[in-house]
Symmetry: C2
Subunit: 250 residues, 2 copies
């Protein structure tokens, strides 16, 4: 059994954010597995089979990758961003758990630039102090748990990054999240909306929480909420390395 599964992060979109490590893995792959638009980022070549699949079939897709590797193929599962942050790595390990016969397979994860850090870099340094990364989708966890995490993260003085803030099937939750954030943090903390980060048409918007509206976010947006000390300097948004004033007094 000499096949392998590599779970590789393609970064947020710009080709010059793909690491040489990931490029090298793509060059020796026999099969590419992933969500259609990410598979479409891999250049076709002889000897390489592209297996694009739909959204929300992560575990099926991961199982297929394991099966092909068990047959001796060299499979790369492509993920956007970093595969370990709300992406394909956990899905592959969930599939592996269901298939003990594959536990000895050669499986490796290759990191990538995750959307929140690309977005933070374009804004300045809003995640320059302690922060929390939260997936706002309630597909895989109850909304009540997300609300609880937002409150505790705010009370801890964490800056926050939100993945999957809003979708057509979840139109109201993000508005509820904004209400909770205003209750906990007040109206003046800065919130940034980063749409299509590093891609054509990238849009950045920073406003105080009191002016944020739910339509500022969609599924292609990463949202970053500052802590009480996050502020603007020139055209940049940043969070100082030292302790935020509000949490210090808490």
């Amino acid at each position: 059994m000499t096949g392998s599964v590599v779970i590789a992060g393609l970064g947020p979109g710009a080709e010059d954010l793909v690491t040489p490590e990931v490029r090298a893995a793509l060059e020796v792959a026999t099969d590419i597995v992933g969500y259609f638009p990410y598979v479409a980022r891999v250049e076709p070549r002889e000897g390489l089979t592209l297996h694009g699949s739909d959204n929300r079939v992560e575990v099926d897709r991961a199982t297929h990758a394991l099966q092909m590797a068990a047959e001796g193929r060299h499979v790369v599962v492509v993920s956007s961003g970093d595969p370990g942050v709300f992406a394909m790595a956990s899905a592959v390990f969930e599939a592996l758990e269901n298939h003990p016969e594959y536990h000895d397979l050669d499986i490796r994860v290759l990191p990538g630039i995750t959307a929140m850090l690309a977005a933070a870099s374009k804004l300045g340094a809003p995640l320059g102090h302690d922060f929390a990364a939260i997936n706002l989708s309630d597909n895989l966890k109850p909304w009540s748990l997300i609300e609880r995490r937002l409150r505790l993260a705010a009370q801890a003085g964490f800056a926050m990054a939100f993945y999957n803030p809003r979708s057509k099937s979840r139109p109201f939750q993000f508005g509820q999240a904004l209400t909770i954030l205003r209750e906990e943090l007040g109206d003046n903390v800065l919130i940034s909306f980063c749409k299509d980060v590093t891609k054509d048409g990238q849009k950045l918007l920073t406003v105080p929480l009191g002016e944020a509206t739910e339509d500022m976010a969609d599924m292609r947006t990463v949202v970053i909420v500052g802590n009480a000390d996050t502020r603007r300097v020139g055209p940049h948004v940043y969070t100082p390395r030292y302790a935020p004033t509000s949490s210090e007094s808490a």
Copy 2:
């Protein structure tokens, strides 16, 4: 005034984790500024001046970078990992705040692979669910605030990544952090110690919290604490994408 400051992330150590975007910035720089060991990762060439400096002079170093850019130089401030995560980006913006005369300078941040995500990739996917990133150093914030954040992050069911867990000048704090984590999470949650990640001599160790000891960490270690559902599958450590059992019942 045509100079510039680029704050570039060199990643955790392996050269094939440096993005092409960062390589391109290093190739057109006139000056490299940073902590000695990071500056040493940049190949010398004619027309390039290397300005290595000591640890703990981040704002002085950043001010120097701004001054040179104002004189028309193309300065790259090098950071390990990602410059926006407990690294040089916030220090540059702190310096910029002290110098309004530089507010119009061309300043850009280029993201990199941050240590916690490189470490997570080597372990499997321990940060595959909501998580918090916390700098355990109390140089720039009070230890009491760190303790509070640890308790709230644990109560929220966040996995956690710790930067700067322990140093010679702070030998006791990490032991206190372990005590707090055991109080909040019990003895069975998995904790991973990742030393020199992606470098020669990389060491990975995963144990239940009840078996963790403070000497398992030093300044070259990133520590990752799972949530209640984090577990092993084959040789890997991962956190499922769905809600952890303990927080669901909380």
